[in-house]
Each structure stands twice: as C-alpha cells, then as structure tokens.
C-alpha cells in the first residue's frame, strides 16, 4: 500500500499522481527506446518493433479482458481485419497515413458488431463465440481473394513519404514507438475517465453497475470497439513489418499467444502489456538459444512446452504476472527496512453474493 500526498483535487485526475518520482522511470525507458537503434543491430531493432506492435495489440486486449472482463479468443481476427483493410486501402491508392486510421476505425466498427454476442454471453461461452468469429474471419480471408489475395497471400506495399520510401527497419521502429506511446496514452486516459470506470464496474459486478446507471450493453460494445480499434492498428503495422500477409498468420494460435501475453505480462495493467509483449518476443529467441546448446538440434516441442510450463507457474505463484512481480520488487525496495514477510500475500475475499 502506498499513500499519495494530495494537495488538490486536480492531482487525482492526473496520469501520474505522484509527479516526477513516478514518471521519472518511464522517461528513462523512453530515452532508452529512443537511443536503442544506435546500439542495436537490425535484427534486435526488428524484435523491438515487434514488441511495440504486440504491445499495441495487447492494449486492445487488456481493455477487453483486463478492464471489462470479457474473454475473447478472436483477437487474431481483429489483427487480420486491420492488416487486410490497411493493405487493401493502400492498394486502392490511399496513403498509409490515411489507410492506417481508416483500417483501425473499420476494425473498431467490425469489433462493435462482433461484440454483439458479448451482450448475451459470459465467460467461456463468450470465448467460444469469439473463437468462432476468429475462424470465420480466417476463412473469409482465405476465400475473399479480391480483397485479401486468398491463401496465396498478399504483398504489402512500401510506405512512401515525401518522395522517400520508409525503411522497414529503424524509421518503422520509430513509427511503431510513436503509435505505441500514443495508444498507451489513449488507453490510460480512458481508464482514468468515466468510460474506464464504467468498464471496471461491469467487470466486477454487472448488477451493481446497472444499479448505478451504467449502461452495461453500451459499455461492453464500447469495449469491443476500442479493443478492435487498437488491435486493428497493430494488425496494419504488423502487415507492414512482415511485408507479406496470408490467412495462416491470423489463426487461433495467435489469439492464444496474445492471451498468454496478457496473462504472463499482468492482467489489468497497461504496464503489464508491455512486459508481456517483451516476453512474447524474447521467449522464442531464448528458446532458440537453448536449442543451439542442446545436442539434438531443433526441438519443436520445446516452445509450446516452455510456454505452457511458464503459464502454469505464473498462475500458481504470481497471478498478476510480470507486472505483479515488478510491483512487489519495487515495493520491497521502497519499504526496505519496514518490509515484512507476507505483506503482499493475497487476502481471501468474502463469498460473492448469489446471482439472481
């Protein structure tokens, strides 16, 4: 528990209630992100770009799962829609600077429509419905060849700006960094405003939310639309980073990896999204390193096994993911001489009331 010294009501509406000591660390990270391309090779910058793209997709997922409590297994569909819409619009002659927001908005609208089952379904049933939506979108991407290029895939046009072709390496990294920071800022704003509180209300108790005048259906639709919007941005960026898109990139597997990313990164936290994205990108690299050391060479079972094992361990020992771990460690150092064992132990809640 940490107490904030307040001197005005305005302070509570700020993003960082405690001022510089709190956002100082973020500034350090931002500075590191800005100078990283100077020190890192092409491959690592490319990996960083993927972290940023996954982080944007994760923001979308976190809004849906972490803040509104809606479990979707169809996030890959939103990535696909964002990617294909952006590429299609660009091929129609629209510039990337317009195609990206247009694709994101389109994905948002589709998200709101696909979110309609969420008004009726809960928990695992919703997960199943969204999974089905994922399959449908995958199938549409394979069949609607006029727009998507079908199973043979579609190449992604390069981004041009002021007569220059934007490289897919460092300049694209900065583009993703800017969009990721913007997305984080948008999401953080939503969370500190009435919209975000309504979402958390729906997550924790929809009957109570209703009793205080929150339009539950409207909030759920908004959450789906927002989630799809952010995921759509990520999809469009992903298409450009990969330079080639085909339906088999947007399968259930990707949706589940995004879910793992949120769970391992830390559910209900924007910071956790970035941790999760870093994990999702770094883990395969690490496993490749381990494989190199093993006598048998390539071990295809190693990656799913490592992911599965880690997920079980996270669920068992740190349900709030990497972010929870980081909070505990920083908390430990802040309270250094006063830290007691079990200070962060979870408390058992009272039994939830029976639902009517």
């Amino acid at each position: 528990m940490r107490y904030v010294l307040r001197t005005s009501y305005r302070q509570d509406t700020r993003l960082f209630k405690e001022g510089l000591p709190q956002y100082g660390w973020y500034l350090v990270w931002l500075a590191l992100a800005l100078v990283a391309p100077l020190f890192l090779g092409v491959h690592l910058v490319s990996q960083l770009t993927f972290i940023l793209i996954f982080a944007i997709a994760g923001i979308g997922y976190q809004i849906l799962l972490g803040y509104t409590g809606l479990l979707s297994l169809g996030q890959a569909a939103f990535l696909a829609i964002g990617a294909y819409a952006c590429v299609f619009l660009e091929k129609q002659g629209l510039h990337f600077a317009l195609a990206l927001p247009a694709a994101a908005l389109l994905t948002g609208v589709v998200g709101a429509v696909l979110g309609l089952p969420a008004l009726r379904l809960k928990g695992l049933y919703l997960a199943m419905a969204t999974m089905a939506i994922g399959f449908i979108v995958e199938e549409v991407a394979a069949r609607w060849t006029f727009v998507t290029g079908g199973n043979s895939g579609a190449s992604v046009p390069r981004i041009e700006a002021f007569g220059y072709v934007l490289s897919r390496d460092v300049p694209f990294y900065f583009l993703c960094l800017a969009l990721c920071i913007a997305s984080l800022w948008f999401a953080a704003n939503i969370l500190r405003s009435p919209t975000g509180r309504a979402m958390a209300a729906v997550r924790d108790s929809d009957i109570a939310a209703q009793s205080i005048g929150v339009e539950v259906a409207q909030v759920k639709t908004k959450a789906f639309a927002l989630s799809a919007f952010f995921t759509g941005i990520a999809g469009a960026l992903m298409a450009h980073k990969l330079s080639f898109i085909s339906p088999e990139q947007f399968t259930l597997h990707l949706s589940i990896e995004l879910l793992l990313m949120i769970l391992i990164g830390g559910i209900g936290s924007l910071r956790g999204v970035v941790f999760g994205a870093a994990f999702l990108v770094a883990m395969p690299e690490l496993i490749a390193e381990i494989e190199r050391m093993l006598p048998g060479g390539s071990q295809p079972a190693l990656r799913p096994m490592a992911f599965g094992l880690l997920l079980v361990l996270v669920m068992l020992f740190e349900p709030r993911g990497i972010n929870g771990l980081v909070e505990k460690i920083t908390g430990y150092f802040r309270l250094m001489p006063l830290y007691r064992k079990g200070m962060f132990a979870r408390q058992r809640g009272f039994a939830k009331s029976e639902r009517w």
């Binding site: 509406t13 919209t195 209300a201 924790d204 209703q210 005048g213 929150v214």
Partner: protein, 251 residues
C-alpha cells in the same frame, strides 16, 4: 407520494412471491419492510429497481409510472440501492467505487475521454469533490485508497451506501443495512441512516431484520408474510402486532 406501489404482484412459476401489494412512501420518510425469510421483501426491492418485471400492478415514482422503465434508467430517475450481500467493485479503491457512482452525471463521450480533454478534467474534479464530500459525510477518510477487497465487512457496507449516495438519489433502497455488522457498527448505521435522511433529505426504504434498528430509525413499518402485507404502521405497533409475532415465531 414519492413512491407508490399499486397492487403489485410477481410470481415465479406458480409461486406468488409478491401478491397484490399496495403501499405508498412519502418524501423524507424512512420506511422499513420486515418479515420472515422468503416473505418477498427483497423481491419488492428488485421490482422497484426493475430487475424483475412485475406480473401485475404498477409502480409510480415521483409521479411517473416506472413499471416499463429499463433497469439501467432507474438510477437516472433518482433511485439508488444497496445489496444484501454487498455488490462493490472489489478490485477498485474506495475513491474509484464512489467515483463510478457519479457516472450518471457524466456528460463526456468516448472520444473526449480518450483525449482527456479539459472538459473531462473539469468533470473529474467536480466528481472528485463530490466524492470527498461523501467520504467526509460517512467518515471514510482512513480508507480512501484501500481496495475494497482489503476492507472489513462493516466498512464495505458503508462504502456501498456511499456509492449509492454519489448518485444524488431522491430515494435510497437499503437491503439489510445491518446484516453482518456487530452491535457497535449497527449503532453507527442507525446514525448514518438518520443523517442521510435529515442532512441530505433522501427518502429511505429499507429491508431489515434487526428489530432494535427498525424501532430506532423507522417512521413506518410494513410487515410481510408470504408475499402479503400483514401489518403497516408505526414501528412499535407493527413489531408488537400479534400477527407479526406469529409470522416470526410461529404459533
């Protein structure tokens, strides 16, 4: 009349949970509904807050019939409620729980929220000020930051009332405000309920089992048994009414 129920009925598959009940609550009144388990007290609350649809009869609030109003619109009309088993937002702090109570007064849209425009900022400050008034009123200063999950049961009860007050309601429905409270906390609850009526001018309808609390705060008491009214009137008269005693204790 602030709230009037006219021959209100609801049945669940053949069982008449509320059977043609009529009563009227005046503005500024503390009106208590008592009765043994299963008498239909909470059902009346759920009818008034529109969670259930009545199978017959009518509810009129503030001169307007609300029998067809959707449940989420009830709060906007000025009816707030608490729940028997506490329905707070467990993962949020006390401040956030109270802030979300201000939701119906929010005038900003998604886009404005996303950009946190100055208008959102000003609105947040207004809400925050209101929340602080409630925190002061209910003496919750020590618990501002605490997550609901870490609070004692008695304090959660008060926070839930606080959240209902953040709606600035005309009518407050309290479902068993003293359940799960120890005697001291129950004494405090008597004061809160009186203060809410006297200082904030909110009309209160409550369901309660603790007869000492009922006698101390109620203006009028309605006793129910198996969905019907068996007594209505001054607290002492109703509590000692032979029919009410029989309903509680049996013959």
């Amino acid at each position: 009349m602030l709230l009037e129920a006219r021959e209100l009925s609801v049945s669940f598959g053949g069982i008449k949970a509320v059977d043609s009940i009529s009563f009227a609550v005046e503005p500024g009144e503390i009106f208590t509904i008592i009765g043994p388990n299963g008498a239909g007290k909470t059902t009346i609350f759920n009818l008034v807050s529109r969670i259930y649809n009545p199978t017959g009869g009518e509810i009129v609030f503030d001169g307007r019939p609300i029998t067809r109003v959707p449940p989420q619109a009830i709060a906007r009309m000025g009816i707030a409620r608490t729940f028997q088993n506490i329905e707070l937002f467990d993962h949020a702090s006390v401040i956030d729980n109270l802030l979300v109570g201000c939701h119906i007064r929010s005038r900003t849209n998604l886009l404005a929220d996303m950009l946190f425009l100055p208008v959102v900022q000003r609105q947040e400050e207004t809400f925050r000020r209101k929340v602080e008034e409630i925190i002061e009123f209910l003496e919750l200063e020590h618990h501002r930051e605490a997550t609901i999950g870490s609070l004692a049961y008695g304090i959660r009860k008060v926070v839930e009332i606080g959240r209902a007050l953040a709606l600035e309601p005309k009518l407050l429905l309290l479902d068993e405000p003293s359940s799960g409270l120890n005697p001291e906390e129950t004494d405090d609850m008597v004061h809160w309920i009186r203060d809410i009526r006297d200082d904030l001018g909110v009309t209160i309808i409550m369901v309660e089992h603790d007869m000492s609390l009922v006698r101390r705060v109620s203006d009028r008491v309605l006793a129910m048994e198996s969905g019907r009214i068996i007594a209505l009137g001054a607290p002492d008269a109703v509590v000692s009414d032979p029919q009410v005693v029989r309903a509680y204790l049996g013959d």
